[in-house]
Amino acid sequence: MKNIKFILFGILFGIVLSKAEIISWYRIYEMFKFQSFHMYGVIGSAVITGMILFYFFRKGSIKNYLGNKIEIEPKKKGFSRNILGGIIFGLGWALAGACPGPMFIILGKGAMAIVIVILGALIGAFLYHGVKNKIPH
């Protein structure tokens, strides 16, 4: 039951991404067309405030609920995996107008077509683990 709070955090995140129109296909299209500052402002201000937050994590002045230092697991290194995986993801992001979080928010909004996108994303994750030993990382 102690995990119920994560539902609340999800609800908050879902409302924020809905209300700021980040789940709108048009906002993603407009971003890649460089025709609006909106998405750059969202991601940019999240990253800048995130940098400040992580600075306090590293300094140890913000600790976790147990009073321990908050460590952030480093991302997996490898140029190929990051650039190629990134490009493949970007192609899908611009076509669906949705990344993994927004997919589920759009589902809650009631747009049934997103079920196909989510199904595709599950197939994609499954396929990756089928071929990961054969592709460069």
Partner: protein
Amino acid sequence: MDFILDPWPWYVAGPLITFVMFLLFYFGKKFGVSTNLETICSLGGAGKFNDFFKTDWKKNSWNLLFVVGLIIGGFISSQWLTPNETVAISQQTIQDLSDLGFQNAGAQYLPDEIFSIETMFSLKGFLILLIAGILVGFGSRYAGGCTSGHAITGLSNLEIPSLISVIGFFIGGLIMTWLLLPLIF
């Protein structure tokens, strides 16, 4: 109430995204949605085909609950918090989309040309949705993260792999938007 019911500006959304990230780290977790794709595969029995998915999905159950929250949040927002679904995209964007055959761009969150039930049940429409999903799912797990894990967490943590991934996101997104969408539509 207007400030809640009107669209939220970027400078409200960005810091709130970081606040959610803070809550997750504060409670000993991390901020990454695409991991759930693997967890759902495990739940669905993908372990029968690939040992990778023979993991204990319960250790990621907190993240699945986060996804349940996303669905509820999307529902609450669309039912009660968004009386007007017009998206104020730029005139140029509306014009460009009109040239591609998208009618009434920005009149609602999602274009009928991709998301209507009618489109979903056409062969082309179905394939567009499915392929878009496969690319997102494959790419995010190949790169080891999506917008939350790489663009927000990774860049905030000054991670070079995340910077490379985000550059990849943009290369892919620009190719799709500028070169492929005009061929598809």
